[in-house]
Symmetry: C2
Subunit: 505 residues, 2 copies
């Protein structure tokens, strides 16, 4: 079957990009990836930092063409895609700095000595790469969470070859950005197996089951991600599966914030749920507002939705799932469609934003659809009676990537309670803001309890995302001349070390 590039604004096929990868091709790419692992190892930290920077340069050298093709395939708009390319390059360069700094290796040295449990040998611990990593491109970030995105950058930084499964919603962008990766690898004298690209759903399944693959990075739907997670877990040798699946992200407006800032919060909320067509995994899909000031907040939100234009969705599948989701919510007892939501008549994959209104009682109803993710520009506002009612509702929410609180300075008791409640089921807590921006930095967490992530212990964005593709090893009593440079006592180690329990830089 051909993999085609489709224009969301017309639903027309623009070009045939590739054929589905055959099982033989997947096997060959995974073998080549395993064979490329020594190249990345021998490049060492400085060489891999240089490789990551080269990839950024290659992407920037093709910036106009990448943005044009990505816009044609995703309709996300050139401004957003320019920003996403900048973010993608920034990410690669941040990881280069992380490599150079070196504490990501967690070098830990215990010198030989006596302890209360007897003599202890010389022990030296560091992290080493897992091996070839399978990366699944996400539909909604054709650059930053796709072929040249965070999972690829983190795996290469760790020293792991990568085989990417291209997302069918942007195959031409995948091919074009893959070429940038391949040129950078070639410029560093690397074998072609260092980065690979496959097309087609079957190829993706084979990738997860391939014996050479040692870990998987995935961003996508809960159904698709869980199916692949199950394959990874059922292998004769199960491997880590880092999946970012669906996420219902709660946003709480306290009584104080509702009284003082209803219009600002309403405008920010509607902008956040419609950003990128509402196709963000961090979209604050559920807003909790106090019943006491509901009328004012409701008017402000309805006005904001009415001022919002239709959006383009990424694919026919996403559009029909969105329309189904809107219909299902509108049909639920006690849930009211208060603005937008009418189907559009365009030829392409357009959709109207939709705002729903309900109460905590309906949210908690046994057959409620309120806490199911509706991917696309929809938001559900849930009215709560008081703090206990709000707490009871939040306690029923599934794991999420991000939660937000809008509160005033004189509400610290309520705020403390909310922070505790929300952090128990989320990876990031945003204060007086909206969660749809995810900064690439040292301190970011993008992950959370299931189903927002299949691996609650890790983040898929930020410096520590590299940790997903590393495992610890300890060398016991090995002579200095046989140690990796980073594990030595002398100046040939240029990384921070913890020595006998004490951190040294």
């Amino acid at each position: 079957m051909n993999i085609t590039s489709i224009n969301p604004k017309t639903a027309a096929i623009e070009e045939d990009v590739a054929e589905e990868s055959t099982p033989e091709e997947v096997d060959e790419l995974c073998r080549s990836a395993a064979a490329a692992a020594p190249f990345l190892h021998e490049l060492r930290r400085a060489g891999r930092a240089s490789l990551l920077r080269s990839i950024a340069e290659e992407l920037e050298a093709s910036r106009d063409r990448i943005v044009a093709i990505a816009d044609r395939e995703t309709a996300l708009g050139t401004t957003r895609l320019q920003g996403e390319l900048t973010r993608t390059c920034y990410q690669l360069r941040l990881f280069a700095e992380v490599l150079e700094e070196g504490s990501y290796l967690e070098v830990t040295i215990d010198h030989r000595g006596e302890t209360d449990m007897g003599p202890r040998p010389d022990l030296r611990r560091m992290l080493v790469p897992l091996g070839p990593v399978a990366v699944f491109g996400a539909s909604n970030f054709p650059l930053a969470f796709s072929v040249p995105g965070g999972d690829t950058a983190a795996a290469l930084a760790a020293g792991c070859p990568v085989v990417v499964k291209a997302h069918p919603a942007h195959p031409a962008t995948s091919r074009l950005t893959y070429d940038c990766l391949a040129r950078a690898v070639s410029g560093h004298g690397g074998p072609t197996g260092t980065v690979g690209l496959v097309f087609g759903q079957r190829a993706g399944q084979l990738l997860v089951q391939d014996p050479h693959i040692t870990a998987v990075g995935f961003t996508g739907s809960e159904a698709g991600g869980r199916a692949l997670f199950d394959l990874a877990s059922a292998r004769p040798d199960p491997i880590p599966f880092y999946g970012e699946l669906g996420s219902i992200n709660s946003l709480v407006v306290t009584p104080g914030a509702a009284r003082k800032r209803a219009e600002d919060i309403a405008a920010g909320y509607v902008a956040s749920i419609t950003l990128g067509g509402g196709q963000f995994c961090t979209k604050p899909g559920l807003a909790f507002v106090p019943a006491d000031d509901a009328a004012h907040m409701r008017k402000a939100l309805i006005d904001a939705v009415r001022e919002t234009e239709k959006v383009w969705l990424l694919s026919e599948g996403i559009r029909s799932a969105y329309l189904d989701g809107v219909e299902s919510l509108a049909g639920q007892f006690g849930v009211e469609l208060v603005a937008g939501g009418a189907p559009t008549t365009d030829e392409g994959f357009s959709a109207q934003p939709a705002l729903f209104w309900t109460t905590t009682e309906e949210l908690r109803a046994a057959d409620s659809k309120v806490a199911e993710e509706c991917f696309g520009p929809a938001g559900v506002v849930v009215q709560y009676a008081d703090a206990d009612d709000l707490a009871a509702a939040l306690n029923t929410m599934p794991g999420a990537l991000a939660a937000s609180i809008h509160a005033e300075d004189d509400e610290n008791e309520l705020s403390s309670r909310l922070i505790k409640l929300l952090l128990a089921r989320t990876g990031r807590l945003v204060w007086n803001g909206f969660p749809t921006g995810v900064a690439v930095s040292w301190a970011m967490t993008h992950g959370g309890p299931y189903p927002s992530s299949t691996s609650v212990l890790h983040t898929s964005v930020g410096a520590t995302s590299i940790r997903r593709f590393l495992r610890p090893v300890t060398l016991q009593s090995v002579p200095a001349q046989l140690l990796p440079a980073e594990l030595r006592d002398d100046a040939s180690s240029d990384v921070p070390q913890r020595i006998n329990g004490v951190p040294r830089h």
Copy 2:
């Protein structure tokens, strides 16, 4: 069904310890554990450090009784069990120090600022506890890897309540040490749900599937561990399963070492494979020796086995599996039983050490049993022709906890090659030593690629084992007065922090 305490030296039931836990009891204990989580959180780091030290004191206060009962149930000997109790207490106290030092929280702060990808909000990351943890006691370490062992200590240090599934080979020791945990919890004003204890295989399965349980620590057989791993992965919300399963640990003797130190290595090897009845997951089950000096090494090994006494195994099941393993190896074409291995005639669970001899050719044969774990005091010596033959054999080995190299100083080229080969499939590499001692320290790694571990990213021994029960969260733009003390800029944070990418202590 009653859970009975059996004496391995007589096979007699010494006492009825408990009844199998009912599903209702498991459910109730897991609920109580979830309800106890806030207590451990509010104890904070200092309080949990104090709790860990209290547990050590309680264990030491009951030292004589614990050692006597454990010896009656395991026949491991009082010297070993005294040492194991010391190790268990040392571990608890080391974790208390790790809590006080605080860098295990990985506090990372990015101040608000401008970046090449635009403005960045204030971001503060730290690790928080997962929630209730299920711990499965191991048969072979009734203290250090059982009720008061490493998994329990790490989970409590992290701030996670624990429900332990008692191992049926030492239920009385489990009950006695559980009482020590419970007294320490009570002394700190904690609810009884902070630590729980269940008996029976069905209770263990229910524990892994219980919705309140957020992670599992397991040490045991590959079959049992994989079955529980599969249950954990098949949950509606899969949870991390930290299993240490079987491990075939390779020990390589280079030509130089074989020439110079055959007797010493042979004596050390046989001591290592018979230590604790050969019931160590780090037992060096496979020794690779050069064909050129094989005769000398063979004589030294056979002599060492002949000087070794029979051992007591932990249970009837372990004894019969050992006898089956010896029989199966002895029956394999090209594998020769060269010393020991005769069945004993005692009433209890005794066994003779056994040494087998074979070649790399037999190891690589399609139906070979050589690389299957034979739990108990058996070792297989594999003769290799040259470095390439050795490398080819090592490349077929499954993932392991520990590998060892015995080499001379003038063999650095071969040693470098061996280190690289062995580290690719193991968590710890021991130089001129034996792997059966696993020090509790900052730099230890006890884990490795599957099947030695179901979670290759982590260790189950040492300071970083606490990381298994923690997940990252990031607080974005949260005002200082609402932050946990560790995340603040001021002196109320007493932990190392990484600030804008730079580590500070």
